[in-house]
């Protein structure tokens, strides 16, 4: 008995310093708080609804999560590019893509996925590029520009489609389905596409350029970076991600709805902040915001699983968001203030 205990204890004792080092690095990561929250919330959700990861439930949850996660990703490049960068038009843009796919492309016989999806992505890129051009070359404050496009796109969506309308294209039906008896929802394809696009941009060095511009615009400019072109690119990529979110939304609701989109803007901004990205720019990636979106989603699903009144959900949601942001900041400053201390422990 004692022997086996000792034998088991020895490798553990040897592993401890390395474990502590890894743990220290993990806590210092900006993703620490949000990852811990996601894990805790999944545990809580599982305790309340043990069937959460069963085939039937999982696909529905993932389909709900995908547009939010993609909207959060869409908010990343503009914020990362600094200079007060912020894209308020993410929500209306993804909503307009949904309306465009259902109310414009379908009646013109362009519902086939091979035509309709590229056109939707092109629309997203165009919307993002307009924002980017006004910010980078018009030299207007990003919040003003994207507030303008927010109002414009939200209004135009209602003009094109005053009432919600059914008749989504065939690919929307595919996106709401799943492989492997519900364990592998099709909507993950969109998230995968966004991740691949981001990884490709990282390999090409464009993400690094955005980060450089965001962390110190003047230094980047003096180093020969075409600051305006990089900003234009950042907003355009954000628009493409927003279009992917719009495709996800179309798959989720299976119809065209002009009023749903704008609600995604504030959720996306909250998810980006929760994910540990600096809202002042220059720091962050897309994994944090996706986890942030998952946190927001899990809070809501936990509250509704506990059959909390829908009126309470808004209160608790805001309180949790506030607490999480403060916690994120406290952990962030505590670990950054003494970089050597955690390693010595």
């Amino acid at each position: 008995m004692t022997i086996t205990q000792n034998a088991a204890a020895r490798p553990l004792a040897q592993a401890a310093p390395r474990g502590a080092r890894i743990a220290g690095a993990a806590v210092r990561s900006p993703l620490a708080v949000v990852t811990a929250m996601v894990v805790a919330l999944i545990a809580a959700d599982l305790a309340v609804t043990p069937t959460m990861f069963s085939g039937g439930h999982l696909a529905g949850s993932v389909n709900l999560l995908v547009p939010t996660a993609l909207a959060a990703i869409a908010g990343v490049p503009s914020i990362l590019s600094g200079g007060g960068g912020l894209d308020l038009s993410v929500g209306p843009l993804l909503g307009f893509v949904n309306v465009f796919a259902v109310a414009v492309l379908m009646p013109h016989g362009l519902g086939s996925g091979w035509i309709s999806i590229p056109l939707c992505l092109l629309l997203g890129a165009l919307g993002g590029a307009v924002n980017g051009a006004l910010v980078a070359y018009g030299r207007l404050q990003p919040i003003v520009v994207t507030l303008g496009t927010y109002l414009f796109l939200a209004g135009i969506a209602l003009v094109v489609l005053p009432q919600p309308q059914g008749g989504a294209p065939g690919w929307a039906g595919f996106l709401s389905g799943a492989w492997l008896g519900g364990y592998l929802p099709h909507s993950l394809v969109l998230l995968l596409a966004a991740a691949l696009l981001w990884l490709a941009l990282r390999r090409l060095g464009f993400v690094r350029l955005i980060t450089a511009v965001g962390s110190d615009t003047r230094a980047a400019y003096t180093a020969g970076v075409d600051v305006a072109a990089v900003r234009l690119g950042a907003y355009t990529i954000g628009g493409v991600f927003a279009a992917l979110a719009g495709l996800g939304l179309t798959g989720l609701i299976g119809s065209g709805d002009p009023t749903v989109g704008p609600q995604y803007t504030l959720t996306a901004m909250a998810a980006v902040a929760l994910g540990g990205n600096a809202l002042a720019g220059g720091r962050g990636g897309i994994l944090g915001p996706v986890l942030g979106a998952a946190t927001l989603f899990l809070i809501q699903s936990l509250l509704s699983a506990l059959s909390v009144s829908s009126l309470w959900i808004q209160v608790v949601y805001g309180a949790v968001l506030l607490a999480a942001i403060c916690l994120n900041s406290v952990v962030g400053t505590a670990t950054r203030a003494r970089p050597g201390a955690a390693g010595g422990a």
């Binding site: 404050q141 003003v144 939200a154 209004g155 809202l279």
Partner: protein, 328 residues
């Protein structure tokens, strides 16, 4: 040559924007367009109605201006307007006397604002997210309190106070408009001539320099957000007189219109540049513009789309930033 011209133009325009001349000019142009295209646009009754609407927007935007001056943004304004609106009507409906009711409403706004300012500065969290979260909490709490229904009724004096047909003594303006202008004048004086007012600018221009000048970040942010909360609660209270009873989402149009008024007035959202005077002009111009779009009998959606374009176009005419090459 081209660069010389553009820099000349931008500095001159910049100086005009600073003195509010461009804003006055746009108010005049919008008015003339309205007068020549919409029947009855320049009638006395329509001007009075516009002035009342501008007063509501102007008071809410005044608080937003102070927050913007310190480089923040307040997204909790609609929720606080809703809270003020519902509190005013509910308390009056329960027989609470008006002075107590007013004190309670303003104190609630102040507390929410102070919380916003304290959390933003203590935890160094972007105000955008903090006010988004507190707005969600306050909005939800008001929903719970009222079960999302119309409740209570406004005190009778308030209805006269905010009526477009009312006059203030010899002035042909509703008392709410006079209140707005007096508050704006007091605010402008405080910003220009008092110590806390200057501290707001110092903090907005350079937080680090402000710290070295012993201007406390926490005090300044708490004060700015506190004022914004009070202004929003006051707007909600006044709106109760306009609408007659309390409704939780009466503030939702003010989420973006308060920001748009601040921006159209020529205040920089990056902080440190701006004034309440410009915000008054911005609120007047925005109200004129929305009334004009209503006059064209456009749908609400089309109005919104056009407003989006106009906001960008107006700001492009005087709010452009310096080229990066000129900032080194």
């Amino acid at each position: 040559m081209h660069r010389l011209l553009t820099s000349l133009r931008s500095t001159r325009l910049g100086r005009f924007a600073g003195s509010g001349l461009v804003q006055l000019l746009s108010i005049l142009v919008i008015f003339l367009v309205g007068r020549s295209t919409v029947v009855g646009y320049s009638s006395a009754s329509s001007l009075r109605a516009m002035s009342v609407l501008a007063a509501f927007l102007g008071i809410a935007a005044m608080g937003q201006t102070l927050v913007v001056l310190v480089g923040g943004i307040d997204l909790s304004i609609p929720a606080v307007i809703g809270a003020g609106n519902v509190m005013a009507s509910k308390l009056t409906g329960q027989g609470v006397s008006s002075p107590v009711m007013i004190a309670a409403v303003l104190a609630t706004g102040l507390c929410i604002g102070l919380l916003n300012g304290y959390v933003s500065s203590r935890f160094r969290v972007p105000p955008l997210i903090v006010t988004l979260a507190t707005g969600s909490v306050v909005g939800g709490a008001v929903l719970l309190w009222t079960n999302a229904a119309l409740t209570g009724n406004a005190p009778s004096w308030l209805t006269g106070f905010t009526s477009a047909a009312a006059t203030t003594g010899p002035l042909p303006l509703a008392p709410v408009v006079v209140l707005w202008l007096v508050l704006a004048a007091a605010g402008e004086y405080a910003l220009r001539r008092t110590r806390p007012g200057r501290a707001l600018y110092v903090n907005g221009v350079n937080r680090e320099a402000a710290r070295l000048m012993l201007v406390s970040d926490r005090a300044v942010l708490s004060a700015a957000f506190g004022c914004s909360g009070v202004c929003a609660a006051l707007t909600g209270l006044l709106l109760a007189g306009f609408t007659g009873s309390g409704l939780f989402d009466v503030g939702s149009p003010y989420l973006f219109s308060a920001i748009a008024a601040v921006v159209i007035g020529g205040n920089s959202l990056l902080g440190g540049r701006g004034s309440i005077l410009r915000c008054v002009l911005g609120a007047a111009a925005l109200t004129e513009l929305t009334t004009l779009l209503v006059g064209f009998s456009l749908s609400a959606a089309a109005q919104q789309a056009i407003l989006g374009i106009v906001v960008v176009a107006v700001v492009a005419s005087y709010g452009r930033e310096q080229h990066i090459g000129g900032r080194i």
